[in-house]
Symmetry: C2
Subunit: 518 residues, 2 copies
């Protein structure tokens, strides 16, 4: 981390933002949407339903494979996108060219201004399946319009922050660098994605653009091409050491690590020592048997009198591989992880969804809504819902419970002594110990906070380092059984009896409706 430099840079704002910085603030992205959102939008306007207050909630049904928790990321980009949401003349010209929409609708789009109220878990929170992480309350048309952009803003960052947190579990206290921009899914994969890896557990990145835009520490030294561009490896290492005597990290596998790269590196480090340099020596291994080569490197370097060498490993690293290399006693203390981190390659998409959970009809009360399905796992809960998280006296999370908004609501942070009587768990995720565990509740708090009113943030977003600190703190608070790398415990998310009652009533009512149409 180099927060001073980053903060210093972040504060200077005299120069006008450039295109990439404005893109990162999500300007001019109103058309980042599925076409059906616009046809539905025009339908809501033409049928006079556009202004009906609606509640939509963002949640995912399952975590990535072998993850026992999620780390929520992307909220900042979502709020930027909503605040900057307007249809510019280029957008309207394009929509006109499609010939699908009438002039009245296009005039409405021209005048569109976001008005949404948004509740969200703080960015960096640990989150779990089935619980609302973001709740949007807005006129039906507006809430609908936000769907695609919201999902695009949250799914990928949350996926990658979660992957980075699992990687952090494997790497322990070692330094982790994200090296993925060359394999990221587009330039933004290496920008949004890098930001999410930093939140979830990476210490630094190779991606200079992410350094510039988000103040993330950047790292890196040289590639094989540096070595290949010289007559031989020794000349390349000597030139590098002369140019960067304070940061002479040498890549030792261009030709052969044991017979060429390491002996040449040792010779150059000895030459530097003879010239009076006393800094820590550093090498990088980018191919071959990392366990064996790192031990050999450590031996050669320490035998030559270079204590505690920095040994960086890269090359297709992933969670299991790092865990296994550490188990083998690999002498690596810094990991450069690219492809598998930035693309979350074992499951490269999070299936987060955004579902209508209530509309406010003229009477003025929320009318809960749900979607049923022949696949019961795809039935949704009615809403609006809130999430209460419960902790024991040591600050360990015990589980979350879902409640209808307004039902039994207490002041944030209040204790919740009746937690055990207020819960039914999802039948398909039933944990018989949950109710017993809830007897140990010391604190209960709402997970979702008010972050936006009238389409504008209610308060400035926290600095990125605070988001990262939250994620680190919350992951560390989880009992080990949720953090292990294989077969983690399922964290319990229970339904309140009131919510369960409303859900069952609606399912019965919808079954009745099916009969009506026959």
């Amino acid at each position: 981390m180099n927060p001073s430099t980053s903060a210093g840079y972040q504060e200077r704002q005299e120069l006008e933002l450039d295109v990439t910085e404005r893109w990162a603030r999500r300007e001019d992205l109103a058309l980042l949407t599925d076409f059906y959102q616009l046809t539905m939008l025009s339908g809501y306007y033409r049928s006079g339903r556009a202004e009906v207050p609606a509640c939509f909630e963002y949640f995912f049904r399952s975590l990535p494979p072998d993850a026992g928790f999620g780390v929520f990321a992307g909220l900042e980009q979502l709020l930027d996108l909503i605040e900057n949401l307007h249809f510019n003349e280029r957008d309207l010209e394009y929509l006109t060219s499609l010939g699908t929409f009438d002039d009245a609708f296009l005039r409405l789009l021209r005048e569109f201004k976001p008005t949404a109220t948004v509740y969200a878990a703080p960015e960096g929170s640990i989150v779990f399946p089935q619980e609302p992480i973001v709740r949007v309350e807005a006129p039906l048309a507006e809430a609908q319009l936000l769907e695609t952009a919201l999902l695009n803003s949250l799914n990928y960052p949350t996926l990658v922050a979660t992957k980075a947190a699992r990687l952090r579990q494997a790497a322990g206290e070692d330094y982790v660098m994200e090296f993925g921009v060359r394999r990221a899914q587009g330039p933004d994969g290496g920008l949004t994605g890098t930001r999410a890896t930093f939140i979830g557990g990476a210490d630094a990145t190779s991606n200079v653009l992410a350094g510039k835009i988000y103040g993330i520490p950047v790292r890196g030294t040289h590639a094989h091409s540096w070595v290949m561009s010289f007559e031989d490896e020794l000349a390349a290492f000597r030139a590098y050491a002369e140019l960067f005597p304070e940061n002479t990290l040498l890549l030792v596998d261009t030709y052969d690590t044991l017979t060429s790269g390491l002996p040449n590196a040792v010779r150059v480090f000895q030459e530097m020592r003879a010239r009076g340099h006393t800094g820590r020596v550093a090498i990088r291994l980018d191919s071959g048997d990392i366990a064996k080569l790192s031990k050999a490197a450590h031996k050669m370097l320490t035998e030559a009198g270079f204590d505690n060498p920095l040994i960086v490993a890269s090359n297709e690293l992933d969670v299991d591989l790092i865990a296994d290399l550490k188990r083998q006693g690999a002498k690596v203390n810094s990991w450069g992880v690219g492809t598998h981190l930035i693309t979350a390659s074992d499951a490269p998409a999070l299936g987060g969804i955004y579902k209508l959970t209530a509309v406010k009809e003229p009477g003025g009360n929320w009318e809960p809504k749900l979607k049923t399905s022949s696949n019961p796992a795809k039935s949704t809960d009615p809403g609006p819902r809130r999430v209460v998280r419960h902790w024991d006296a040591e600050g360990r999370p015990l589980g979350d419970t879902l409640h209808l908004v307004g039902e039994g609501e207490q002041a944030p942070g209040s204790s919740h002594p009746d937690a055990t009587s207020a819960v039914v768990t999802y039948a398909d995720r039933m944990d018989p110990t949950f109710l017993r565990r809830l007897e140990g509740v010391a604190t209960s708090r709402n997970l979702l906070e008010l972050v936006m009113v009238g389409g504008a943030r209610t308060h400035p977003s926290p600095p990125l380092v605070e988001v990262k600190e939250r994620a680190t703190r919350e992951v560390a608070s989880l009992p080990e059984e949720y953090r292990r790398l294989r077969n983690p415990h399922l964290y319990t998310v229970g339904l309140s009896p009131d919510l369960a009652r409303v859900k069952n009533r609606l399912i019965r009512k919808l079954s009745g409706l099916n009969g009506l149409v026959q």
Copy 2:
């Protein structure tokens, strides 16, 4: 396709481009790079080697699983990026804040202008492992600087265009729509990615932004939320049919497809018919057993007198699933494919690399370079290389051969009667029939074309529809054994004897060097 509308929109340029359009043109992306490119760059300047002419080549070592060919995409974005490459004041301010670089280097960056000469396969070409697809000739420092941005620009689009082409093999003549923006890896995943799916095989997209920026046809109707926002499904369908009588595609699985969605849809279509509508009826299935439900839907609709209904399927579709549904006789004629297409979920990164293959020392001739490795598959070929593709009299590709530039070079398009004597194949990919097949060569041509000189395009890029047509035509020209969905033939890429000789000589020389340092 709706090329007229798109072209009409694309031609209008009176209004200034907005932020997203300028991002799509890759403006202000000089820092889309790995930090080590900048440290190496400063090293090349300080060691006086920055201006040494260098040749780098882009290639990949293997195709995604079960792919028998690749479809090259992303060239357009790469050329945009190079043409727009400069360090703006914001970039320089950030780099200054890092404290790593001296003023002299920062002044050089401020004055940097791209000068590269670039040869590339035309976008939309079929491409194969081990062969250079892009060759960059530029001063060493500049060519090095381009590495990260080039890989980021080409790897993901080529991966997704290749995936789309495999999907097209599975879908046959059916309509394919890309629905992935909500699961894409960032907003750009749903932009660069959508463009690549269109090149590789998709007919349309749901992504409005990709429609605006690239003129790709956009499609979509309504979601479950439309149905849920009404009192019941029938009211929702009736409202939709009234609002969009020309395009009444009804999503029938919000509650229950067979007992609710389909009966309600049939009733609404009957009401429309009674009002005089005669258009083709259309439904979408988004859950459940697509084979069974599509057959049931087809039966109910045709028995009600609606011939040839449009039946769209979506929901976690992928290549194998579509192939299997078609094998089961599913009555689907339009496929909406999201997550698995836009993220290429079975292998979400293409391992394309960009390697130094030659430098021009003061003497004036290219000096070939290669990287060796204890893993022989990671040794590279020396260069500069060109690729010759060979076709039989029916226009079917027979294989490609790699040659040193200048070695036996003939006029483009000339026949290549000595092909069989000019080839050795990669030992690890030896196809004993290759030399025999080459006896049938009717035409041989260079794959790489000159596309950029002095950092500027040599000619305007072709329209996107032409790129798509090239991909369609070239994939169709491949014999079936390279296009099948499992265990496709390996397309042969052979080395010319001269190239093989130079490679072997360099490997021997490098082994000697290893000895020297002991």
